[in-house]
Amino acid sequence: MERGFLKDAWLAQRLLRGETDALRQVYHLYKHDLLTVAASILCDLHAAEDCVHDVFAQFAAGVKDVAVDRNLRGYLMRCVANRAKNTIKEQHVRRSHAAREADERPAAESPMGRLIATEQSVQVFQAMAQLPVEQREVITLHLHAEMTFREIALQLGLSINTVQSRYRYGIEKLRTLL
């Protein structure tokens, strides 16, 4: 996949110009990354899908106000991570994935029917689910969103030492789980 600042800048330019399919292109370009970030933080595939949906809905509505000059991917990643964390805060994710599947949704509409994750990925998400959300967030932003610890610290309003500690403790905990 061609990915990088130049492509982001070009897509952002097209979005600002109101090109019909620019948003679709942005979605198709980054959908897997964004869903992965959401799933890593929420540890729930259906909630991850909702999260990405909500971010795109907001993005489509307010794109002219967005200060995206170059790093569109990074911007979207941060939006998804923030939205995922808010979802957890709002306690939208109360039930386990299994309980949700057995709940009101028809099987054909279940997220497992739409989202594809390897067995190992599911194992990782299950292990991530056992970490505090603060550690999950830092791990996801660093490893999936490819943000530096300094960027994460700025984003979360924390010291770089706190971010690095959360990361280290989180990975150490995963070592015992995987």
Partner: protein
């Protein structure tokens, strides 16, 4: 139990892929989801107008750059390299032998002209220790520094001055001082992941990707140097290091450093600018036959420095 790095790789490799049904649900491409699909109708009515010629210029520049950066149409692999890849690749090597050039400039002072010395450098490093040798342009050895990690023995041999200096690093600092070797230095400077990215750029015939840090002294102070090392050996001021990575092996292949040193042993206790280029990197060469504990050569004087560690 899996290693820290293996877990990082596992997390990085964990992915969720959207199926067509997800696309339909989010974008409304032909299906009705449980949530309303994102509107993707034209948005021109609420976007600012852009001067056409400016757009044309942007397009031309963008297309030109894309042709340069993505010549094969498959994207540019080096762009995906992150420092964690480099660290992993380095960890699999037993050691390193690096050669390069060093330009030392002593700025002019009242009654003293500027002095410039061009030197050749050679470094070996392994799990056991680190050797750094400086030669003059004729190949004659000027200075050698050896550090044995486990015993904390630093030996400095000044061939020009025919002097010899040895000290024992206190136990508490030995592990931290492993970072003075090339691999340790690279990790110390770049592992935080916040280095400026460079390239991809043609370096020694390869599309190398680079990393640059400019606050070298601060990074070393935070992780490696106890204060006495900084003030005695390498008292760095403003300094910058650029590291270029071989896109195929993920290993460092070229490093440029621009260091200002002030009043320390390495700068002859005066101010010195040291520009260094390391352009030949041989990984896993072995350092058998090289001593990390060189004896005092015949005729060399044991150096004593008042107040030195």
């Amino acid at each position: 139990m899996k290693s820290f790095e293996e877990i990082e790789e596992m997390v990085k490799a964990s992915r969720v892929l959207a199926s067509g049904a997800t696309d339909e649900r989010i974008l409304g491409e032909g299906a009705n989801g449980s949530r309303p699909a994102v509107a993707v109708e034209p948005m021109a009515h609420r976007c600012r107008r852009v001067i056409p010629i400016r757009i044309a210029a942007v397009v031309l520049v963008a297309v030109g750059l894309l042709i340069v950066l993505f010549p094969n149409g498959k994207g540019l692999l080096p762009e995906t390299i992150v420092f964690a890849d480099v660290q992993k690749a380095m960890e699999q090597q037993g050691g390193i032998h690096i050669t390069g050039m060093r330009r030392c400039t002593f700025p002019a002072e009242p009654n003293l002209p500027e002095e410039v010395y061009l030197c050749k450098t050679e470094k070996w490093a392994s799990q056991e220790g680190y050797i750094d040798v400086t030669y003059d342009q004729t190949g004659k050895r000027m200075l050698q520094v050896c550090y044995h990690f486990d015993t904390g023995t630093i030996t400095v041999t000044y061939d020009y001055l025919r002097q010899y200096y040895r000290l024992q690093v206190p136990q508490a600092y030995r592990d931290r001082l492993r970072g003075i070797g090339p691999v340790g230095l690279i990790e110390t400077l770049f592992q935080s992941g916040d280095a400026k990215r460079l390239g991809p750029e043609q370096v020694q015939g390869k599309d190398a990707v680079g990393f640059e840090v400019s606050n070298v002294a601060q990074r070393l102070d935070e992780t490696v140097s106890p204060p006495w090392v900084r003030f005695f050996f390498v008292n760095l001021k403003e300094s910058r290091v650029r590291l270029w990575i071989d896109p195929e092996t993920r290993l460092p292949m070229y490093m440029q450093g621009d260091f200002w040193l002030q009043g320390c042993l390495f700068s002859d206790f005066t101010t010195m600018r040291m520009e260094e280029t390391n352009d030949e990197w041989q990984w896993d060469p072995g350092i058998e036959g090289l001593s990390l504990f060189p004896e005092r050569p015949e005729g060399y004087r044991q150096m004593t420095i008042p107040g030195a560690p």
